[in-house]
């Protein structure tokens, strides 16, 4: 029997980068196959070739034994390939049913048969155990449901091979669990699944086999039982990765951030301090006020009531500029939207916001030499690749973009660092590095507020953990005493253990 | 200036003419000037060229003909006043004529310029009287082009004429706009006519260049629908009878005569420099009553109007200009 997917000697070049070179991938029918690799390794590119969004420059692709010659989405769909993209491919203003049937709409004459579309989607949903309201508008749905719609969309097209690009990057742990349950049930119905993930624990738990890419090449394919997380990480990065970071006990000093009865959006009155030299973690199921908290604490949202003092200055209703000047460093939740100026060089991005400092400008004219020297130092220290401060930020892969943001914020020596999901979507090597950087900030004496949906991350870094539930603080746990289990109970509204 | 082609020589005299907005084919003001040149071509054997300016190239048009050495360059419309004043100074050896010269902005034309002006209010008074005497609804309309003193002269004369014979008659007034474009907007003209006919007017006098073509169109459409002629238009500048059977009469502004006279004088070596006013007395104005529209204007009406004309000529009636 032919393999479901067979990709041999795939090569794909972009201007300036080679994304894939001599990549081989064999996925057997009916398995769950994971694809891992550091940021920019070429995983997404490989999958885009498979689903007809890119044509390879060289190599052969066979789907169920038949060689692909026509690299167009329609042809891939016809061959039984369906892809759930990293950035969802949806029309937010249309309904679930409309999104699912787009491209092969049921019709009555020239007219769109909405009723039939809705029935079809409802039927699909119940058949695969993925219920959604077919009439809901996509933009009104939470991400978890949006992703469900994406899966329905490919199933509706009779996909026998489902590709999911980093499907859990934006999901809560609960949503991730239910996603993997879905994937297993699809497998039991004979479908093949390929998924990309940076979360090695999930890879181990969900996949049958694993293929690792590094710098555009295949490192190897292994049955999942034969490798542990450390081994996978080593295959990805090319060196052993430290998962356990040694953490010295905290020696907190005076309060840097004082939050009192702060409310706004879903946030319903929270009170806490963050002291110099400590890391306070904020855990919680997504949508329980974390985003609002981060937005208020970076000036992007005005608090409804309450106060927030940074080094004594009341800023709960101030704009980002005031927070910035008071000494806030922020790793924003959404780095593409808030983090970088794509068209500008890495160097300019690295000192953005600080150009007025005498070191970087004289009489309004930018001092290029100082900027470039400092940028080169940061690029080296934070291992940003390519190591060219003049490269456009936009040309960097996701993980490297994140490193630029982290480098910029940390190099400002902030009094308070607000880090929101600082390692979302970055590879294990970079995770290690970012974690160490955050700990170094603590050691330097900065106050750190860490918001993350990754419990292991919070457990590894935080000295104190606040659990948000329904917009209020459901409990506070000392880092050393916290367990995933105990936090999980608090997060879902249970009483403290 | 360039070479000085002596006026009055026997070779074909070359005339350059620059039209006003509305341009060639407005079947009114501009075409009247064109008719004067056609006649001069036929009767005097001259040659001419014309130019339809688009936006700001009026002066460029004048200059072009002056540079080509045309002994006579004509600008049609008050808007040429400043441009002719300027260009004529640069070409002192050539002649220029301006229809509707604006004495407000340049009281004394240069020595090589013929400033042709009309006392439009007098002719408008007469067609106003015709309208006042023939209206069946007791309401008549006036559609002006651009709202400027020149067009207010038309309105004032017309309204005075109406009131002189029919004091209870209402005169509806509308202007198409505040820019020169208002002389070339038949769509707007039609809309204004629609409003005035809709408000009960049965005769509309237009003084609006090709904007008036829309007025004719509205009357034509209304009459066609009803199968009888109930809505009338009074044409302006030229005899606009050709616009259809609903043209009650036309207020003739003999731009053709004025243009022809200037050409003739230039050719004969007696260029008429200075300001020339054309009124009823000079036969520069008039109204149409011939075999084609005689049925629309009864003899009693014509007699009354001729009496009024005599009073104006005798100076017993002074027609208002604003």
């Amino acid at each position: 029997m032919a393999a479901a997917v067979e990709m041999v000697g795939i090569e794909k070049r972009f201007p300036r980068v080679v994304a894939n070179v001599g990549v081989n991938l064999v996925v057997e029918e009916g398995e769950i196959h994971a694809l891992a690799g550091e940021n920019g390794a070429g995983k997404s590119t490989l999958m885009k070739i498979l689903c007809g969004l890119h044509a390879p420059d060289a190599g052969v692709v066979r789907i169920f034994g038949r060689e692909v010659t026509d690299f167009r989405p329609a042809a891939a769909i016809a061959a039984g390939i369906g892809m759930v993209h990293q950035h969802f491919m949806q029309v937010p203003t249309l309904t679930v049913a409309e999104n699912v049937v787009l491209g092969e709409e049921p019709r009555r004459g020239p007219f769109f048969d909405r009723r039939r579309a809705e029935e079809r989607v409802a039927e699909l949903g119940s058949r695969f155990g993925l219920p959604v309201d077919p009439r809901a508008r996509i933009e009104d749905l939470p991400v978890g449901l949006q992703q469900r719609v994406e899966i329905l969309k490919v199933l509706a097209r009779g996909a026998r091979v489902l590709i999911l690009d980093e499907p859990t990057a934006v999901l809560t742990p609960q949503e991730s669990e239910s996603l993997y349950a879905t994937l297993r049930s699809l497998k039991s119905q004979g479908r093949t699944v390929i998924f990309i993930s940076h979360k090695l624990r999930e890879v181990r738990a969900a996949a049958d086999r694993l293929t690792v890419l590094r710098r555009g090449r295949t490192v190897g394919t292994v049955p999942i039982g034969e490798v542990d997380e450390a081994k996978i990480a080593e295959m990805m990065i090319g060196r052993p990765v430290l998962f356990e970071i040694e953490k010295t006990p905290a020696a907190p000093a005076g309060a840097v951030l004082e939050v009192r009865d702060l409310a706004g959006g879903r946030l319903r009155g929270v009170t806490f301090d963050v002291r110099a030299g400590e890391i306070v973690g904020v855990a919680g199921v997504e949508g329980n006020g974390q985003s609002e908290l981060v937005e208020i604490l970076s000036g992007l949202r005005q608090a409804g009531s309450g106060t927030a003092r940074l080094r004594g200055r009341e800023l709960s209703r101030a704009g980002p500029a005031a927070w910035f000047e008071a000494g806030l460093g922020v790793i924003p939740e959404d780095r593409n939207l808030r983090g970088l100026i794509g068209e500008m060089s890495v160097a300019d991005n690295l000192i953005l916001g600080r150009h007025r400092q005498p070191r970087y400008s004289r009489a309004g004219i930018v001092a290029g030499a100082a900027r470039d020297a400092d940028a080169a130092g940061l690029v080296e220290r934070f291992d940003i690749r390519p190591a060219d401060p003049r490269a456009e930020a936009e040309s960097l892969s996701g993980g490297n973009r994140q490193k630029v943001v982290v480098a910029r914020e940390l190099s400002r020596v902030p009094g308070l660092l607000v880090a929101a999901h600082p390692t979302r979507g970055v590879d294990v090597g970079a995770i290690e590095f970012i974690h160490r950087s955050i700990l170094a900030e603590r050691a330097r004496g900065a106050a750190v507020l860490l918001v993350s949906s990754e419990l292991p991350e919070i457990l590894a870094l935080a000295d104190r953990i606040l659990v948000l539930c329904g917009g209020a603080i459901a409990g506070e746990v000392r880092g050393a005493e916290a367990t995933e289990r105990g936090l999980g109970v608090l997060m879902t509204g249970g009483a403290p253990a | 200036g360039k070479s000085d082609p002596a006026p009055g020589t026997t070779g074909a005299l070359k005339v350059g003419l620059v039209f006003d907005v509305g341009g060639r084919g407005d079947r009114s003001f501009n075409d009247a000037a064109y008719a004067g040149l056609e006649r001069a071509k036929k009767e005097l054997g001259i040659e001419f060229e014309y130019f339809e300016p688009t936006h700001a190239d009026r002066e460029a048009g004048l200059r072009k003909y002056a540079e080509q050495g045309a002994p006579l360059v004509i600008g049609v419309g008050f808007a040429f006043t400043d441009s002719i004043a300027k260009v004529s100074a640069d070409f002192p050896g050539q002649h220029f004529a301006c229809v509707d010269w604006d004495t407000g902005s340049a009281p004394k034309p240069p020595a090589n310029v013929a400033a042709l002006r009309f006392r439009e209010e007098e002719g408008c008074f007469l067609v106003g009287a015709i309208a006042g005497l023939t209206t069946k609804t007791g309401k008549v309309g006036f559609v002006g082009g651009m709202e400027i003193p020149l067009i207010h002269k038309f309105r004032a004369g017309f309204a005075a004429g109406v009131k002189a014979v029919n004091p209870s008659c209402e005169v509806l007034v509308a202007f198409a706009g505040l820019t020169p474009e208002a002389f070339k907007d038949p769509v707007k003209g039609k809309e204004l006519a629609r409003s005035q006919y809709g408000a009960g007017a049965d005769i509309i006098f237009h003084a609006s260049g090709s904007t008036g073509l829309g007025v004719f169109e509205e009357a034509r459409a209304r009459n066609r629908e009803r199968g009888t002629v109930t809505h009338f238009v009074i044409g302006v500048d030229a005899d606009q009878w050709e616009e259809g059977g609903h043209v009650l009469t036309s207020m003739l502004k003999r731009v053709d005569v004025a243009v022809f006279d200037v050409v003739k004088g230039t050719k004969a070596g007696t260029f008429p420099a200075g300001v020339h006013e054309f009124g009823l007395k000079e036969d520069g104005l008039g109204y149409v009553r011939d075999d084609r529209n005689r049925a629309l204007i009864p003899d009693t009406v014509a007699q009354k109007v001729d009496a009024l004309k005599a009073e104006i000529l005798a100076g017993r009636i002074t027609v208002p200009v604003r």
Binding site: P73, N99, E105, F112 | K184, P186, G198, G214
Partner: protein
């Protein structure tokens, strides 16, 4: 509000409505269509020239305008539609196939349309400013409410475009492409093809708008659209890219223009005349502030291959 006054508003609104529907179709597919103005103008001329060409000619070479067969102006209507489609496809070529800036392509087309129609007018009618009078379209209707078939079409266009956008498969794809062409592409919908079709339709609608204008006065006049394409575009945005909203905005603009006539002499003339434009600015400033444009509006779509 006499019937005459209402009918007057509808007459003024008719060409705006058609152009606005063209604008809705094009912008919903993600293409900014400033070229509406030039499209209308070119079609107005095409209508006039072709109607003229089919009129019988007397022995003296004059066109017997009123003796023309009833079908003659309809040939002109067909020409106006075809011309609108062609101009719009030029816009499509420049900004979909080539991916150039849509605003600039639209402006360039508008300026070219002014020059080209003047030039063609000189060739056909020996005047760059006015055409001859041409055969009229019939008028249908009752009482004050008699309009040319082209104007009637403008009233029908609003529900038809609504149906098209929100009830047909083509409309669904068109809206999807205007919001997220990448997503549509992954599902096998070709954004370029959909946008080209949308522009062709947009051109036909705007072209018919130009025909309404020229047919209303049975002639062509230099630059006779006089900014109506721009006003229609403003109406599209004011109407939040919704056909009924845009139609309401067109009626509002038409009413403002109509209302200006009785206001003449009562308020300063400059104020009366700029009423529609002032309204545009006010309306834009006040209402539209927060309207949400189609997400991919104005962005050329590059297929990722």
């Amino acid at each position: 509000m006499t019937p005459e006054f209402i009918a007057g508003i509808l007459t003024v609104a008719a060409p705006l409505l058609l152009a606005a529907m063209g604008g809705v179709v094009s912008e919903r597919s993600g293409v900014v269509n400033i070229a509406l103005e030039g499209t209308m103008l070119a079609s107005a001329f095409a209508f006039t020239a072709v109607t003229h060409a089919f009129e019988p000619v007397g022995p003296d070479g004059r066109h017997l305008v009123d003796a023309a067969g009833a079908w003659v102006p309809f040939a002109g209507v067909a020409a106006g539609l075809a011309c609108g489609v062609l101009v719009s496809l030029l816009h499509a070529l420049v900004c979909i196939r080539v991916g150039a800036n849509q605003v600039v392509s639209g402006i360039a087309i508008n300026i070219l349309a002014v020059g080209a129609t003047q030039f063609a007018c000189t060739l056909v009618f020996e005047s760059s400013s006015n055409s001859a009078r041409v055969a009229s379209l019939p008028r249908w209707g009752l009482g004050a409410f008699t309009f040319t078939p082209a104007a009637w079409a403008s009233f029908v266009a609003v529900p038809v475009v609504t149906l098209l956008l929100f009830r047909t498969v083509f409309g669904l794809r068109l809206r999807a492409v205007g919001e997220n062409p990448d997503a549509a592409e992954t599902l096998g919908v070709r954004p370029g093809a959909i946008r080209t079709a949308a522009l062709a339709l947009s051109g036909a609608l705007a072209g018919l708008g130009g025909v309404v204008l020229a047919a209303d006065v049975s002639q062509f006049v230099q630059n006779m659209t006089a900014g109506r394409g721009y006003i229609a575009l403003a109406a599209v945005i004011f109407g939040k890219w919704n056909p009924w909203g845009a139609a309401a905005a067109c009626l509002l603009f038409a009413a403002a223009e109509k209302a200006q006539v009785p206001l003449q002499g009562k308020i300063p003339p400059q104020l009366a005349q700029s009423l529609p434009y002032l309204l545009t600015i006010l309306v834009l400033a006040g209402f539209v502030g927060r309207a949400r444009a189609p997400a991919a509006l104005g962005k050329p779509h590059e297929s990722s291959r």
